[in-house]
Symmetry: C2
Subunit: 497 residues, 2 copies
Amino acid sequence: VSKDKYGDTPVLGSTDYKPLKNKRYGLYEVSELTDGTEVLVRCEVATARSQSAKLAFLNFSDDLDSIQAVVAASESLSRQMVKFAANIPTESVVDVVGLAKDVKDPIKSATISNKELHITQLWVVSRAVPQAPIQVADVEGALPGDNTGAAQQDETGRALVGLATRLDNRVLDLRSKLNHAIFEVRDGVKSAFIDFLKENRFKSIDTPKLLGSPSEGGANVFEVGYYKRKAYLAQSPQFYKQMLISSRRKRVMEIGPVFRAEDSNTSRHLSEYTSMDLEMEFIDDYLEVVNLIRNLMHHILSTLQSKYSRETEHVRKVYPSESFKLPPNAADIPIVEFEEGCKWLNEKGIETDAGDDINAQQERSLGDIVREKFNTDVYILNGYPHTARAFYTFPRGGDLSAKYSNSFDFMMRGQEVLSGAQRIHNYEMLCKKMRGMEPPMDPESAGFKDYVDAFKYGCPPHGGGAFGLERVVCNWLALPNVRMAAFFPRDPSRVTP
Amino acid sequence: VSKDKYGDTPVLGSTDYKPLKNKRYGLYEVSELTDGTEVLVRCEVATARSQSAKLAFLNFSDDLDSIQAVVAASESLSRQMVKFAANIPTESVVDVVGLAKDVKDPIKSATISNKELHITQLWVVSRAVPQAPIQVADVEGALPGDNTGAAQQDETGRALVGLATRLDNRVLDLRSKLNHAIFEVRDGVKSAFIDFLKENRFKSIDTPKLLGSPSEGGANVFEVGYYKRKAYLAQSPQFYKQMLISSRRKRVMEIGPVFRAEDSNTSRHLSEYTSMDLEMEFIDDYLEVVNLIRNLMHHILSTLQSKYSRETEHVRKVYPSESFKLPPNAADIPIVEFEEGCKWLNEKGIETDAGDDINAQQERSLGDIVREKFNTDVYILNGYPHTARAFYTFPRGGDLSAKYSNSFDFMMRGQEVLSGAQRIHNYEMLCKKMRGMEPPMDPESAGFKDYVDAFKYGCPPHGGGAFGLERVVCNWLALPNVRMAAFFPRDPSRVTP
């Protein structure tokens, strides 16, 4: 009786593939439908199990949604079809026709709790090989604490899959609802960044990633064979975005990859990551730049708060965290002077020298203090010691012997997510600064000349900063490892898949 | 009398810098002001010349705008100030206070033709070194025909600066109004691409640029020293965007750099360029993908037509071209079958074999024919020979021995700007296809395994394409060389600045 109601379709695109004529729905739409509406959805099989020869239960999944489905033998539905359904390998892509029926008791095993699909047709569009190297259900949970990659189980017997195994099988891993939520947030951060800056007349730029010289000192740079010579991968768009300011682009932004050959395997570093850069002219004071970025940061975080609460809550169930404390207005995000911050740390018995940078541990402690004082998880640390910043950073008051500089970091949950500064736009000051570095830098050398020359022919005062996209995502969601916020992370021991 | 009315400001950011209190304007706003309004603008000096000891003329520039200004000695303005003004090196950045006065006869030497600035204060914010390697005014015109880089002049005695010299001095070159116009258009193309795809539920992705193996065959790939091993720069996001489709991202987009180690120095190729990629699931037919991209293409071109006419006209004055013929609706952009296109070429006496690809010259001829037939500068060539496309291209009707494939190019002014296709989403078909290639490809080899495995565990049917951003800009503006549409172009002989 069920001939022409189920089976494997021919490969879609083949001459003998026949489209179904029923009305298509997105799975997310089903919960709102009238009881008994017939739907056709394309989704994936999360689970399939036979209850008896006459009854099978399936769980279908799509994005953040899932639904329970039953296929029951009847006068119009054969036992063969029930058997077929129960035996579809998980992860297969299917076209399902069924009636969306109301249920009495909320269904706990699916996100759509008020409806159940009563299957009338079932077509496998793309059949999965039965034995997948990892089960998607097994990577919905948190990473095991020791992260050895060895097989482990939680108290319920659920396999605990380590990070390395997840990343080795990233295509399957990314199918988890956990990862759907994480990467929706990532998309949201990028969109909010672009939207705000476009609204504020920033123009998009694309700076070269292949450079003729290892700029910015030459440490931690990847070398490339470039035809008959060497080239180097850009560690940041810094020089080029400033050169474009000098070429009279008033406000520029770029989202793109940057490459860091640091041989460190910490949970905070990637060898390739996505940098969200901006650079802008200012008129009288670099605090114009700080204020614009503060507005931008507030826009990003309030967008996450208002539009990504479902995703945030999903991740929070897996990685518990306190809800992010965001001040109501951008102007309420505190700007803390570095010197003052160090004093607060000293008061808590944490030793720092206000002439030196602070380390990651001290950063976290200062984050706690600021949270206590201002009830915020985001703040700005302003006026870093001159010696702690890159050579192109503008010294306080324009004085090269000044202790502090016109530089700042933006912090989320006590971790730096953006680093920025006023840059030296004056040619003579820049040359003098470089020659006075320890060891001295030569403004005429191949790695610097094009950059330094950009300031010879008139350049407006300017400043800017760069977000590490993965860090913003990580700190918003309180993820334990920055790799979890990159689609295909790269580190010293990983360059695949 | 003019003490405190002119001079060089201290380096902006220095303690002794004093902000001006006057109301600031953008230069673009000045033409609309009431006669005699006092303005303060920050802009650059395009020209400065003394007429007499009592009178000097300057031309100030900002973005696409320019204005004439006079500084005249009077009871309240000293001859010293006139002399100071006349001697400011071009390209210096200045703060100008002046009265925006109506003029009787339109001023031809400035884009703001109805107003002249009568200077009352003049401050040099960033002074240019007097002798610049190229004059911005000299790169406002077209490239000299022979492009040798040797010094040449046009009939009026104006220096003609070749492409190499322009690119060697790119920061100055990019200051030209010509380049302001070109890169505004570039920004417009990106914005239109992102806006349309976001509106259509595409999610932004960032795929890795550092790969563990030279994928896609290994030709034309840059090799990178990656810690203690080798890595390779991505030639496209192709494999990864498909892997993300398999990881259940339904619609993905990416704008990012791609790297091609082709040793060819043509006007159409770059070693690093910006690819605008998209990939999407479809339900029943890959023409769903073609239609979406057709709508996207139409959105981009109609945005350029409606919002970038000033920039387009500016470039057209330098590089004359016919106005772009864009059909009124997306659905009017013709889809021409490859086989049919070859027939049309044959009818014009141009020999082609419909089983082979067509070359760039034939492409242009076909563009002419299509223009004649359909009155359009944009069209789609659909159904390329299977042998002319990458191995992952879906064969017509799902038949590996078919002559044609479900693939297409989008053409602008007879040149390809996007290449796309349905991809093989079926694991067995893909393996069979690869093993049957000449020479055979091994689905189990390091360069392919992660990619091919993505199709093992269920993958929806999908397709997509990629625009070369620089090509879209180039063909819209009819520029003679693709390098002109990249901020800092890279080719086999250029990796600086």
